[in-house]
């Protein structure tokens, strides 16, 4: 028979799963093991579950906890090849197409180039699917500020994606010319 605390925690977690795991995946991409991050955060939340007064706000707690744990890894670590491979394998195991996988990985890499606050706001809004109001609560900010961060983050991301596409295209073109030339 399951522990009542576990039952309650599982029940509260059901609504948090998708946004939480996507958020963790985005945070951990290439730099830390997403599984470790998810497990650490969940264990911490489970330990302090009695102290969380509003159980429906477990997601906010998980997001904050994940951000705090990963924050030191965001800028310091370089991409680790084994972590990237691990990520690919996990997504492939979920029957994801190779094209979608490339898009996701490209997006994660580009997101990593955004300033920290913009990046966080964009991930929460675009990937985890939080509303502006919810992001403001999570970030201890106001809705207008979050809106600005998301907007600027998107613009910057767009530019980065355009630039990356151009550079990738030119490099590929150059190579092609070179190949043709030889």
């Amino acid at each position: 028979m399951a522990d009542p605390k576990q039952q309650a925690f599982l029940q509260a977690y059901q609504a948090c799963h998708d946004p939480f795991v996507r958020y963790c995946s985005a945070l951990a991409y290439g730099k830390m093991d997403a599984e470790d991050l998810v497990q650490d955060v969940l264990l911490s939340a489970y330990k302090h579950f009695e102290k969380i007064e509003k159980k429906d706000q477990l997601l906010h707690y998980l997001i904050r906890s994940a951000r705090n744990r990963s924050i030191s890894n965001w800028r310091k670590q370089k991409y680790k090849a084994e972590l990237l491979e691990q990520h690919t394998e996990r997504l492939m195991a979920q029957d994801l197409s190779a094209e979608a996988l490339l898009d996701i990985q490209f997006l994660y890499r580009t997101l990593d180039k955004l300033p920290e606050k913009q990046r966080d706001a964009v991930i929460l809004f675009e990937i985890s699917g939080f509303s502006m109001k919810e992001i403001a609560v999570i970030q201890d900010s106001n809705e207008g500020a979050v809106r600005t961060k998301v907007s600027r983050g998107r613009q910057r991301l767009k530019k980065l994606i355009e630039n990356n596409s151009d550079s990738v295209g030119s490099i590929l073109g150059g190579k092609g010319k070179m190949n043709i030339g030889y």
């Binding site: 969940l42 264990l43 979920q94 596409s165």
Partner: protein
Amino acid sequence: MKPDIDKKFDSLRKAPTEFSREQMESIIKGFPSTPATPLDTTNWTTWFSLNNLLVVGFVATLGVGLWLWNKAPNQLEALIVNELQTPTTSETVGDSPVVIDTELEKSEAIISTANNERSPDQSLLVEKIDDKSNTPTKAIDHRKIEKQKVITSAQNSAAARIKAEAQATSSPEVKQTETVLKDKATSENKTNQPGTLVVQQPVKTDPKAVPDLTNGEMRRLKKSLFKNLLDDKLIINKWKAIEIDLPGNEIIVNGKVIDQSLFNKYSLLMEKVGWGPDRKIKFDDEYIKVGNFTATGFRGSGFGTFRSTPKIHIRDEGISSESLALKREREIKKEQRELDAFSQTLLDTSNGRRGRKSIFDVSLKQEKCKKLHKDLYELLLEDGLIETKADYVLMEISKNSIHINVLELNEVLYEKYSELFNSYKIKPGPRRQIRMSTHTIRVGDFSRGSFTGTSHILN
């Protein structure tokens, strides 16, 4: 073609999560279940946390420290205050009101009673009472007490004994050695009241025994003597030296026997000094000497800075040495005034040499001053610049010239006197002068109304 960012995000959102819901559930189910024995908040062992220990330890240390800080001084303070809280009175002796610091006398009486019995340790406490009694209205200085704070139970008991003895001064046993010094009429009509000052009669001390007074006792004696002598108009001010003779049957202040009505009061004040043919008290504002003054010298106690008075050739004219000294002092001052007036007159009539005072003062030792005085007078007489040694001399020593009584010296004499001044390390300066008379010499910088330098009075 521009990449559509929304499409990318859509594909990301549509993609499955990295970890499935089942995986997460299995992770959560793997978490340890709720602890079977939750921490009991009533468990007393939980109190021993580092925070609690630190806080309790700090508070306890502070409390104990404060208690120790306050406890010992308070005990002493209570004792002292007890001693001082007995009523104070001013007593009338004869017809003249006696202005006596009764607290002082009382404390001295306590000390004198305890003197025979007190041990070195106990004397510390007595000294404290002594010191306090001198300023009973002052706030008690805790720091001062703290410095001498080693109080043993033995000392406390000694203090209690001293106190008891002090309170019992009117008992018959004590009265055998002490008598109440009061006016006869007063003693006949009045009985002893609480707080009435009981003092010792002048003790028939051994004249050869030297009085041994502590610094504090001498300081207080000087203070009370000054106060009473001024009040009784036996002295005019504090600045002259005072000599009190205590042959035994009378008290002589500066050669004058004091009135019988004041005898009791002063014998009371000087009871610790004792009596004898050579017993004297000499004091001024800077020092006090108490003891036997004989032809061989002084034996006794002293406190302060003693000034050696110049030797005076006392002619046997029935005049005391003190009077001669005063006379001589007046003469010297007069001589200096006349010399200054002479110098000022000369300077006013001449073309005054102006300039600033030199930075370096002239500093000559006494012997050098005397020698300079002698040398200069001899040279001046030799050169015919003065007629006698009684003439006043004003020498102005500037950089390029020397004037003697406003007459400028020629080159030869200038060299001669410059050499002399150099040998005494007297540098020239715009205001540098030497003013000499028979008994005085002053070397330094003079300006109107002020002088900086070395002054010496010759015998």
